[in-house]
Amino acid sequence: MPQETMTKMERMEAAIKLEPLDRIPCAPLMDVYFPAKYKGFSPARAVKDWKAGFGAIVDVFDEVGGWDGMILPGYSYALTPNLYAGITVGKNLIPGLDLNGETTLQFDEKEVLTRDDYDDIINLGWNGFRLKHKDRFNPADEEAIIKWTRSQMNKYKYELQTWRDRGLRSLCGTITQSPLMFLSTTRTLLEITKDIYRIPDKLEAVMEAMLDDLIQEAVESAKMSGEPGVMLVMERGGCFYYPLHIYERFEYPHMKKMVEAFAAEGLITVMHLDQDYTKNAPYFLDLPAKMVVAELDGSTDIFKAKEILKGHICIAGDVPAALLSLGTPEEVEAYCRKLIDVVGEGGGFILSTGCTCPVECKMENFRVMIDTAKNYYPH
């Protein structure tokens, strides 16, 4: 067992800054569903009863003897107290409301934005567009919307403080998406792909028009929450969905501007990279060094990513959901050791779940992942 000489926070900080470590830190991406299931209550209750749901995450943390950091603190949103911040475009299907109570939350991918909206976005920006079309996306009265944003931020701060009280921090003080990700989920993947093909110039203009507002809102909310990091969700831009020439035009320039703007404000960017980004990894060498975490979900070749990004940015990941759910503790331990051996060499690595810890995760597998980080460090 390695001798620990760093606090949890120091260990996480050192991993992000590519500095020497006493051991590899572990920071799973936790939402509420696995902890809720483990504690014996339904996804519907977990979503409805935030205190119980967040409490379940904390209980799991305590039960396994803790870990080193959170990627996100829980499942609230760090929203600024602005009307536009509460006008969410797109809808989640909620267990117990839109779905049966035993299932987990799903994004409802519907064409809520149309091509007809593009001119308004170009002319008004993202926040102006949302304000103009407020009643279409959120018909609640303005006071109620702002009250809701405040309550979300308060919950987010409570979650952050809960972890600070336990000696750890969350990497992300807020969460946002790249313009492509936003548009892909609100236009639908199919329609945005047709837009890329048929009206590329206009789409590019829309993305440019969204950018400043997305950056400003993320910076503002991260500063309000008090945690200097932003999760930038980018599932839809990688090579799984689009070839590199599309990535170079419709995803990379915008995400680069966002990451650079966050870095200029002292904010770390956690790039939440669902799906395969192996071919995209070389582009990350142009992002600000030691200010980015590439969070991988098991689809990207993490070993190849390490070869490419070693000495430039930190990598987090990527114990696959299927391994945590279907594998044995021995298999989980073997994979975690391999990650620590290879991706952990020279630091710059955070052992984490590949995407969110799955609801079907076996507790013994989860525990092994945490324990392997604590007990195994060959470097």
Binding site: Q106, G238, P243
Partner: protein
């Protein structure tokens, strides 16, 4: 469909899996609906649906057919597909012992994850085989240069590819697309469709029982007539009149080498030929789909009786090279 624990021998039977794959909006659900209404008794079939932003199968359709449906709720969370599908497969097999399992993959599902789920140790000995049918929106083919790995993987996974919505393309483009796709996927059966109308024999085909199912000689035209009827229906719809069906009947035997060369040289637009072929020494049943021919001995009447299905082709041009093969 209720759990049936009384038939112990059912638990020994293995299930055949049909995976319906394809990008968002290609027509997968339309095909699923056709499959579910294609057989009089679907009580031996379980449906697994991986929803993702599409209007799903009407549950009442399944109730009518006495078919069990399992919804995977990870439609937008691709990283959990393998887990969810593996658990669902084990559950439905252990509970219902189905003969058939239809899986409608989400439009963003990585086919490798589906194959990985079907290959899990926990399913060893429970599955007989798997066939992947990919539905392609023909209109998306011209956009292929902007699609990433997912699109390619879905096409490559196909045993049978339905080039769907051909009615939305100009007829000359259909021919070009068909040839390009055939060239890109030389080992895949490719069939143009409108609203996923397809001869159900191509879907439910079971090689090991084919011979046992051969019936009287007049059975074949009935099946093929049904196919023609489907496309007759298509003719009611705009721009749908480009499917062509015609038959070839001749008592004289054909030279085997000549006939096989004729088949190999058929253009991509002629995607289906079915019926009996009389060679000098025997008669065979031919099932030709999009460049691939399957042959079975034919114990019935020694005659050439073939039906051709194609897109914008003519009987005269298609059959002309066949005539010199006649003795």
């Amino acid at each position: 469909m209720q759990p049936d624990n009384s038939l112990a021998d059912k638990s020994e039977a293995k299930a055949d899996v049909i995976v319906v794959s394809g990008f968002l909006g290609a027509g997968k659900t339309t095909l699923m609906k056709r499959l579910l209404s294609s057989r009089p008794d679907m009580s031996d079939t379980v449906v697994i649906v991986n929803e993702f932003g599409e209007i799903g199968i009407d549950a009442s359709l399944l109730e009518d057919e006495n078919t069990e449906m399992v919804e995977l709720t990870s439609g937008c969370i691709c990283c959990t597909l393998l887990t969810d599908l593996t658990l669902a497969l084990n559950k439905v097999i252990d509970r219902f012992h189905p003969r058939w399992i239809l899986i409608e993959a989400s439009g963003v599902a990585d086919p490798r994850n589906i194959m990985a789920a079907l290959s899990q140790d926990s399913l060893t000995g429970k599955l007989a085989g798997c066939r992947t049918i990919t539905v392609l929106d023909a209109d998306c083919w011209e956009m292929r240069s902007i699609f990433g790995d997912l699109f390619r993987l879905q096409l490559q996974a196909a045993d049978l590819l339905l080039m769907n919505k051909v009615d939305l393309l100009p007829p000359e483009k259909v021919r070009t697309c068909l040839r390009e796709i055939r060239s890109a996927l030389p080992r895949t059966q490719i069939v143009p469709t409108i609203h996923c109308h397809i001869d159900q024999d191509l879907i439910w085909f079971q090689p090991e029982t084919w011979g046992a199912e051969i019936g009287p000689a007049d059975r074949l035209p009935v099946t093929l007539n049904r196919y023609a009827e489907l496309h007759e229906h298509d003719r009611d719809e705009p721009a749908a009149g480009h499917f062509v069906t015609f038959s070839f009947q001749e008592d004289r035997p054909v030279d085997e080498g000549c006939f096989k060369r004729f088949l190999e040289a058929l253009p991509a637009e002629v995607f289906r030929v079915k019926g009996t072929v009389r060679f000098p020494d025997r008669t065979m049943l031919l099932n030709f789909v999009a460049g691939r021919a399957e042959w079975r001995p034919w114990p019935g009447e020694p005659v050439n009786r073939l039906v051709f299905v194609g897109w914008e082709t003519t009987e005269e041009n298609t059959l002309e090279p066949l005539r010199p093969c006649l003795a």
